[in-house]
């Protein structure tokens, strides 16, 4: 798999609530017929990507910087699956799939809570996901988004391992990464059952923080940035970090 920059945002045919309204010719006029609301799920839009405050991760802080990057990912995952679960009553997931996605929601919420507690209140900065009209009731769109986020999380954890000075911290993050692998497999198999989609390659990707940030920006309201990034990134077996 390649890390495709911006691929998360490209999942959405209609960008934002504002774009959607413009597209259907309403402009700013608030004539929201129920069918339009359903069509774009714009009531779920939390803000435009990169429209919010700057959010800077400073790698001179050392391991906490890696924990902060992981915390951004886990906040996105927990929030996303939380919305998916909340939309089950109106969505086209089978009950078996609903059970599986609820498990994943639980794991991601626990990961988010673990990182928040580990970072402490002064460093655990909250971010706001930007969904750009993603319909949380649409099985295919939800699974496609989930696959992107899970694969990105794996590449983030694997790429950042080399920067973690404290081996105890590195192991804690790897314990999470293994379970993200279990998630990515289940999501891939739901998309294309009993093929190689659970694990398309024998080696997972390692992504450098800047690559992760660029892939995250289309789904974050805050403007994510990095300072004092380590000068060297050692690639993994796939050589594409």
């Amino acid at each position: 798999m390649r890390i495709e920059l911006g691929s998360l945002s490209e999942l959405h045919a209609v960008g934002t609530r504002r774009d959607f309204l413009r597209l259907i010719g309403l402009g700013g006029a608030l004539v929201l017929l129920p069918s339009f609301v359903t069509a774009c799920s714009s009531d779920d839009v939390t803000g435009l990507p990169a429209s919010g405050e700057p959010f800077v991760i400073d790698f001179s802080a050392g391991d906490p910087a890696v924990l902060q990057l992981a915390f951004v990912l886990e906040q996105l995952e927990a929030d996303f699956y939380g919305r998916v679960v909340a939309a089950f009553a109106r969505s086209n997931f089978t009950t078996t799939e609903q059970t599986l996605l609820t498990d994943i929601r639980n794991h991601e919420a626990i990961h988010r809570g673990f990182l928040a507690s580990t970072l402490g209140p002064s460093a655990a900065f909250e971010v706001t996901p930007a969904y750009s009209g993603l319909p949380f009731t649409d099985r295919a769109r939800v699974l496609a988004f989930a696959k992107q986020v899970e694969d990105l999380g794996i590449a983030m954890y694997n790429g950042a391992a080399q920067y973690v000075a404290n081996t105890n911290t590195m192991i804690l993050l790897a314990k999470i990464a293994a379970v993200e692998g279990r998630h990515a497999s289940a999501i891939g198999d739901l998309l294309t059952p009993r093929t190689n989609s659970f694990a398309p390659t024998p080696f997972d990707n390692l992504a450098r923080p800047a690559t992760v940030g660029a892939a995250l920006q289309p789904v974050l309201v805050e403007k994510i940035g990095f300072v004092n990034l380590p000068p060297i990134f050692l690639d993994g077996p796939n050589g594409n970090g």
């Binding site: 906490p64 990464a177 497999s185 024998p202 997972d204």
Partner: protein, 234 residues
């Protein structure tokens, strides 16, 4: 909320790390992982060569596993030779696991036992790699090789578990319906103390203690791994 515009400066909140492992320790870790790779690749290559074992519906999955394990075995072998050492030879494996799967011989009709073996070697693989990462941390190239394989083990474990109707993740220290002699592969997975955080205390609305154990995989020590590997050796 803290001012997000300012950059962050803080001190690490976790324990100090142990002293770095040297090249000999790195090689020992790679040799141990090589044993896991021999176990997995032998299981899948023998299944692939067998007639009537894997149903056609599941062939694509098991062919993928055979292909991955072969390539992962190669990469670990290369990691050892690159460090100018000789890879240890493969043991002769006993896939009855000392009689836990009586008469198992990759024969037609033995697919349920084969699926159980797949589950246990994949869950073992995840925990084996997790247990060696700290040692590999002193050699970033070896570390990167290991983590790139490690998360694929997690993917593989989830797939083979789900294919046989189990959850993709491990709950508490549960071995599902596997033979009791394989319980050591799951012991320790019930841990909920992650660094300074008891994650069960965060899991009230998110699956409770069971969810807290599912959300993290747990490492096996080298001693635990070696003891488990002997179960599979003839």
């Amino acid at each position: 909320m803290a001012d997000r515009r300012s950059t962050i400066s803080m001190t690490p909140s976790v324990n100090t790390s142990r002293s770095a492992a040297g090249p000999a320790e790195v090689l020992a870790a790679l040799q141990l992982l090589l044993q896991v790779e021999y176990l997995q690749s032998t299981l899948y290559s023998r299944a692939k060569a067998a007639t009537g074992l894997v149903p056609a519906t599941d062939e694509a999955v098991y062919n993928t596993l055979a292909d991955h394990s072969e390539q992962q075995l190669l990469l670990i072998t290369e990691a050892i030779t690159t460090r100018t050492a000789l890879p240890a030879p493969s043991p002769i494996f006993d896939f009855t696991v000392k009689g836990a799967f009586p008469g198992f011989a990759f024969a037609a009709g033995q697919y349920p036992a084969f699926q159980m073996l797949s589950q246990v070697v994949e869950d073992l693989g995840v925990r084996a790699y997790l247990g060696q990462l700290a040692t590999l941390a002193s050699d970033k190239s070896a570390l990167n090789t290991a983590v790139a394989i490690f998360t694929v083990k997690g993917r593989n474990a989830s797939e083979v578990r789900r294919l046989r109707g189990k959850l993709g993740w491990i709950t508490n220290n549960g071995r599902d319906d596997l033979p009791v002699s394989l319980q050591p592969v799951y012991d320790g997975e019930e841990n909920v103390q992650q660094g300074t955080v008891n994650v069960a205390s965060l899991a009230g609305d998110f699956g409770g203690n069971a969810g807290a154990t599912q959300a993290f995989d747990e490492p096996l020590t080298s001693a635990q791994l070696s003891a488990i590997l002997t179960l599979f050796v003839a």
